[in-house]
């Protein structure tokens, strides 16, 4: 019997120079307690992944699959129930309060709802001053100059500084959110549904901005989204999450062209396509997403999987290499259409 602890995608990957790994999440778990303090929800249930310097790792999944929680857990914004996060080889759980504060400079987050992520009682100038003040910068002239640099980077102008957030459009607000995240010159930015709340045209603008910034500043992104098209456009590698677990992880091309997990396959078949020749055969999954309070045994997906067999309900499938840097946690082999046990 192969237990999940013995098989994580990282350990199967070709040994890479440690210095290329910016962030490593090792079997992280986040459990929320229900109102009655008895039921527990495993929002993130043992996710391991590594983010390499300069790459964009996309995380897709349905709402409620724990992808946002994963992002917050990595940033230490919510406490981990288990597992470790290493940033540049350093275990975040061992850091003191002060060290963690310094660490925050290196990793930032961009939120989904641009209006909710800006304090409505403060002007853009006050919002952008905040990161500098928190980290003890004193020189007002330097801060101002740096803020103007940020505004230029994100495509806004000086006159926006005196505005309140409700006086800006959604795209402008998101640019302010990006500028704030960039203020401390981070290396990793977690984009938590960063473009989902925007119109499609604005979405494209902000995505282009994020790509330009990455090139210019050498950033690394963990890009969390439910939108498969956005993920496809932007990511180098893609991770697919289902009910708190990562089920497939691989380079975007091979994952989109040859999905190895039935769930990924079903997700991809749901992407609307204009051209008929691009359309995949639509896979309709049966039933609803099971409740994370009481997830199915074994593979979480086995209740809805078209290729399920006996073993799927008993054991958590181990990670299996299906291509170059491409892994899937599934017993079923799509190529031979049989189960590998």
């Amino acid at each position: 019997m192969i237990r999940e602890e013995t098989a994580r995608p990282d350990f199967l990957e070709a040994p890479e120079p440690e210095k290329n790994i910016l962030l490593k999440a090792d079997d992280i778990r986040v459990t929320f307690r229900g109102k009655d303090r008895k039921t527990t929800v495993k929002a993130v249930d043992g996710v391991s992944l590594s983010i390499h310097k300069g790459e964009i790792l996309g995380i897709v999944g349905e709402s409620g699959c724990g992808k946002s929680t994963l992002g917050r857990a990595i940033l230490n914004l919510i406490p981990l129930t288990g597992g470790k996060v290493y940033f540049e080889g350093q275990d975040l759980s061992t850091l003191s309060k002060k060290e963690m504060k310094d660490m925050r400079k290196k990793m930032q987050i961009i939120f989904q709802d641009p209006s909710a992520s800006l304090n409505p009682r403060r002007t853009v100038e006050q919002i952008l001053f905040e990161p500098y003040i928190i980290h003890g910068y004193k020189d007002k002239n330097y801060i101002r100059k740096d803020i103007l640099r940020l505004l230029e980077l994100v495509g806004l102008a000086e006159y926006h500084l005196s505005r309140y957030s409700y006086e800006l459009s959604g795209g402008q607000k998101q640019r302010i959110g990006i500028a704030r995240a960039l203020a401390l010159k981070p290396e990793l930015i977690i984009c938590d549904e960063a473009v989902s709340a925007l119109d499609v045209s604005v979405q494209a603008q902000v995505l282009n901005l994020l790509m330009d910034l990455k090139k210019e500043l050498g950033l690394t992104y963990l890009f969390i989204s439910h939108n498969l098209n956005v993920i496809y456009q932007i990511s180098d590698r893609v991770g697919v999450m289902y009910l708190g677990r990562l089920v497939e992880l691989g380079p975007y091309k091979s994952l989109y062209e040859e999905p190895a997990h039935p769930y990924t396959e079903a997700l991809l078949s749901a992407i609307p396509q204009i051209h008929e020749e691009n359309r995949r055969e639509r896979i309709h999954l049966q039933g609803e997403v099971p409740s994370p309070i009481n997830p199915p045994s074994g593979c979480h997906f086995h209740t809805r999987c078209p290729h399920t067999c006996e073993v799927c309900s008993m054991d958590v499938p181990p990670w299996r290499k299906v291509g170059d840097r491409h892994f899937a946690a599934c017993y079923w082999n799509p190529k031979s259409n049989e189960h590998i046990i």
Binding site: R72, L75, L77, M100, K101, D102, R104, K105, Q108, I109, F111, Q112, D113, A116, S117, L118, N119, P120, R121, E130, P131, I134, H135, Y164, Y166, E167, G177, R180, L184
Partner: protein, 280 residues
Amino acid sequence: MFLKAFLRLIRKNYLFTAGCLICLFWILAAILAPVIAPYDPIAQDLAVKLNPPSAAHFFGTDNFGRDIFSRVIYGGRYSLLAGVVTVVCVTIIGSIYGAIAGYVGGVVDDVMMRLSEVILSFPQLILAMCINAALGSNLFNTIIALIVVAWPGYARLMRSVVISVKENQYIEAAEALGASKFRIMFREIFPNSISSVLIMATTDLGNQILLFSTLSFLGLGSAPPTPEWGMMVSDGVSYFNKFWVAGFPGLAIFTMAVGANFIGDGLRDILDPKLRKQVG
């Protein structure tokens, strides 16, 4: 720029303007009392006792022949002072208490809220009377009693607002930037929560003046012969066929309470930043 928007708002918001004018009137009257009042408020003149309003005594005289107009003007000093001091203290105590309970949450929240509910479980007036009676009745102790009775309401309001405000993403953004809990509390949460409490405070100013007057009416506020509105009404009820004795101080309490309420309503509109944009 802000002043301009503010002035424009005042012109649009008639109730707020009316409230301001009423309160300003009473405040000025209280400050300028020695200049305005034609008589000494405690000087008795039994020759003219219980005279109806006339040219010599605009509001008539009471059972000791004291000029009611002068007493009403002077009375504002006590009632307004008690009301404003109470409301200011209660706002500060209640909002900080409630903010801590709401932000920290968990067991701290439970304990803090149960403590405040102990006070809420008594009828306001009865509790204020007990405290006042225990401490001895004078102006200072009456204010203390009012504060003790009123703060839990403010704390509860502040707590509920803070709980909803702290769920906002800008709080999380501040955490991600590394802001301390203290900073998040006072820079992010407090400014976004305090407006409801301020509105409650202005609306409550009228209530507190009424409660203070009620205590005085019951003989627990300031001691006679202090000219205090509530006590004057209390004196007046024995002479209900002489309407001016209780009527004019009652009218003073009424207008002051209404004025404070108008300001509270107006303030709600002004403090809502979204509304400010639409009007300005």
